[in-house]
Amino acid sequence: MESKIYAGSTAGTFVSYSNSKMKISQNWLKEFTEITHSPEEIISHLNASLAEIEDYYDYENLYTGIIVGKITGLKPHPNADKLQVATVTTGEHTHTIVCGASNISVDDYVPVALPGTYLSEIDLKIESRDLRGVTSEGMLCSPKELGISDDHSGILILNDEPHVRVGEYFSTLVKAHDIVYEIENKALTHRPDTFSHLGIAREFSAIFGTKFSPSKADTKTKITISETHPHLSVRIENETLCRRYTAAVIENVTVKPSPLWLQQGLKSVGVRPINNVVDITNFVMLELGQPLHAFDKAKLTGEEIIIRTATEKEHLTTIDGKNRELDPSMLVIADEKEAIAIAGVMGGIDTEISKDTTTIVLESANFEHYNNRKTSRTLGLQTDASIRFSKNQDPNNTLPAITRALELLAELTEGTVSDTIIDQYPTPREIQTIEITADYIMNRIGDPSLTSEKEIISTLKKLAIDVTKNKDHLVLRVPSFRPDLTIKADIVEEIARLKGYDNITLTLPKRDLTPVSPNDAVLWKRAIADYCARLGYSEVYNYSFVGKDLYTLCNVESLLTIPLANPISPDRAFMRPQLLPQLIENINTNRKNFDHAAIFELEKRFHSVTDDLPQEITSLALARYEKHQPHAFLEIKGAVEALVNQLHIADVTFTQPTDDHPLINLFSQKRVAEVLISGESAGILGELAPAIEIELGFEGAVGIAELNADLLFHFTDSKRAYSPVSIHPELVMDISCLVDRNLSLDMLKNSIERSTSELLTSARILESLTDAAKFGEDRKSVTIRLVFQSPVRSLSKADTANDLQNVKTILQENFGAEIRS
């Protein structure tokens, strides 16, 4: 097959094809409308009214200095066996050129690079030079030297090019001079018509007000349309997914490379030339937006084309050589025996056009867009055809496209076109009607001076919309290639965008003076973050996705219960159930640069709920790292205490968590406390588990905490009471006693505060010591500082005697304490 020779793009000047970009050739547009504006003006107008033009490519200098010459004489080189000396005419001048290729003969038309020409492909400046005693006045070029293909086996012979003429610029022969615009087509998902040069040309005419003449794509061939054909029949089994199937048979075709102008035309818009038949199908698709497919008729079993859904586990090897397993949701084109193409996506390799093909079946069909898209996505196979079909192509386009293709096939393959086209179109697409008024359009835009009814009508007509006036109503008949126009708002868009959004006079909505009701939860979170920052903690953001490795390292992998079906990577495979593991990672990142680090995060964590959306809890996690300190427990606890104090949360106690606390494994066994608010678990804090510290190679101390911020919000007391500051002196007394080692000092403190008079302003734990030798294995020595103060007078010891006695009684009777002093 010849296609190998013509494979590959012309390096350097061309960029590779991308799915979200569509290349549009200005030459091609000029076939349908006038273009007089500069590329800059064109880009600015298309940007404002259609879609973003990322860039454009100017091919004005392509093939500069290359001229078509004709070989008038050829003789061997006197001093070199492998060289020939050619006499070449370029019209007025004759040149002697030494050539190493052997594929040239007298009367061949060849591309000649004359002295002074620079061949960018091979980085060579052509000069007259002596080659073994003969002066060579230029160079005959191979396809590779011109950047046409990778072929370097011989000189490019131009004899078969239509209208080839001595002395003409090579660039003129291949129609190379062009400007190519790159349109971002993501914003055109709803505009199937713009996936073609004809459609873009129509937009041009509406934007610039130029004449639009689609007739150049019309065919002059006379054809008959029929539901049957002597050597081919078509049967649509699924009329929902295949809305129309048009086909024709062409016999006696000669498959060969396309003429250079066609190859050049395809390449300039990023499509690789294959052979004349395939190139014509691509050409018509790029021109009219209708994807076509050609089958080698000799490779079909039987003479019936069946459009059906795939059978369970049906296989098809597509033309890219991949064997693909299909499923019954996918539509295929089949012969009597098996699938021969995935409908609207890609053809099968067994029936593809080869150089031996003589008879082809040409398909011009229309497939339902959602299903086409799904098939393409499922197979991971996006093609020029599927990109177009998935945008809801116009079923009325199959006939103009196939007739255009037949005309080109007759011309470029010398094939015999059957005069009968098979066409099955079970449910023709109906024309949409929209009724609207000019006032409505202007009111929705909000700028009455932007346009007029007269201008609206003329703009709509430019878009091929049929407009009739019925009193003040406009009755619009929308062409079938604009499925995006169904409601009045769609028409407002057409007028606004074509006038240019930038030209609209701006307004502001009218509203009353009702104040905004503040979102307490948002303001609350701001307060938490502010307090954390005041406490010296810096805010970090971590991903909501976590991986098994981190959670395994932290011994909490069982918490991962919400996996993603399509994670970006294994370390982002689950919705996070906690924030702390990532904060530990953050500490690990920062300890390389800091001896001290304090961070917090305030974000959501997720917990699965049976048959419902996951529960989302706003979590506050804190972590601090001190390289030069052995411990961080009291620091992290101090931060949490300061925080709950600032947030005015009462009844906060700290207790030894039970062994089944979900986060217990993160913590050092002896240095962990659960935070309770009114007895409800609100979080956990402590020092990082030694196992994790060792694993990560931490020195120093890491204190960590994670709190349920939603619960903090629930328990906060927004009514902040003020208590006057007493001017009378405090009376301070310390009590030391021995108590059970596991006794909660919060409980002790709360009991003391509850059982004393209002003269006791605070009971503060000064220290808690253990010393097995002095106090016994299960006892600790606790010192409590009692502070008495009266708002109205100075106190004497006698005033506090009663309270002091109560405290001692409680210590002894409720907590079994042994008073030491």
Partner: protein, 346 residues
């Protein structure tokens, strides 16, 4: 005792006190000396008790002598006090010497994430403009994320949102628009709300792409809301946010939940249109900032609002982008790095 003997004794006492005052080494010691000699049981008071034994004219003479002695002692005391004070000050001055050019003690201050800071700024401006703040869910249903926004299953527009899915079929929200339906359905009209939130898209991360990003959605529904109101509202916000008269440029775009779809761009304040490459606008002079549009009638209908009576607009602006532009941050990945070298700069 006679006058002569008393006068002698007074001289002795005076000398003794003056000697002690001179020898004193600290102000408290000096004060003790003074108190000791002048107190009720002190030697001077003792001499005074002997006055009645003198003749009347001698009384006067001796009284004057005592007063003179007291005055001398007071002067000596004052002088010594001043000396000692000066001595103390000088001593501390020396002790207090420091190299004032060494850096101060490092105090750790907590920093808020730059996105938090700018989100608050944006929220405050919108609140002042009359918008309430609504928080989105982070994981939501296909219905809220797509269907209620006029994007049915199979719709090609779903290509624009590369969606993550949980294995049981929920979606880490691809846009804050996921909250639109709930707001329109549950809030009384007119509705003015913004939804700041974290969003997720299934795309590989690099300097300019993130699978986790931040948006501020806006929703406005009332009678007679127009396209020009939408553009005017966003220009007002952006001018307030950037504290300058920003210029807008608008391109048509496509989002199924608005009709028409707009891409609103602002002029690049980094290069101000000057020659040369600008990494913020990539040389385009305009920065795509806010996709927006009038709310599609289908979206209103699905939320139970009559599109013939009400109209509105919505937008979803990228908060990360606002932050990147504001600070000239070159790489999105810093935001989730947890790196204090980055975070402490804000």
């Amino acid at each position: 005792m006679n006058l002569e003997e008393l006068t002698k004794e007074l001289a002795v006492i005076q000398d003794e006190i003056l000697t002690k005052i001179k020898a004193s080494e600290a102000i408290p010691q000096l004060n003790d000396i003074k108190v000791a000699y002048l107190s009720k049981k002190g030697p001077l008071k003792d001499l005074q008790t002997k006055l009645p034994t003198l003749k009347p004219e001698e009384k006067i003479t001796f009284g004057q002598k005592i007063n003179a002695a007291k005055s001398t002692i007071q002067s000596a005391y004052d002088k010594r006090q001043e000396e000692l004070h000066l001595q103390e000050v000088n001593l501390r001055k020396d002790k207090n010497w420091i190299d004032v050019t060494i850096p101060g003690k490092k105090i750790s201050i907590g920093h808020l994430h730059p996105i938090t800071q700018l989100r608050r700024e944006a929220e405050n401006i919108f609140m002042n403009m009359g918008f309430e703040i609504v928080e989105p869910r982070s994981i939501d249903t296909d219905y809220n994320v797509f269907e209620a926004l006029n994007i049915p299953v199979g719709h090609p527009a779903r290509d624009m949102w590369d969606t993550f899915w949980t294995t049981n079929g929920y979606i880490p929200i691809t846009h804050t628009s996921a909250m639109q339906h709930t707001i329109l359905k549950e809030h009384d009209l007119p509705v003015r709300a913004i939804v700041p939130g974290r969003c997720f898209r299934q795309e590989a991360t690099d300097a300019t792409h993130e699978h986790t990003f931040y948006q501020i959605e806006g929703v406005y529904v009332d009678k007679n809301i127009t396209l020009s109101d939408l553009i005017g509202t966003l220009k007002t916000f952006l001018s307030a946010f950037y504290d300058r008269d920003v210029q807008l440029r608008i391109q048509p775009s496509y989002f199924p939940f608005v009709e028409p779809g707009l891409e609103i761009m602002i002029d690049c304040a980094i290069c101000k249109g000057k020659e040369g490459y600008c990494s913020t606008c990539r040389g385009k002079r305009w920065i795509e900032l806010v996709p927006a549009g009038p709310i599609h009638p289908n979206v209103l209908t699905m939320a139970g609002i009559d599109p013939n009576e009400y109209s509105g607009f919505a937008w979803g602006m990228g908060l990360d982008r606002l932050v990147m532009i504001k600070y000239g941050i070159e790489d999105l990945r810093w935001f989730h790095s947890g790196d204090l070298r980055f975070l402490q700069q804000f």
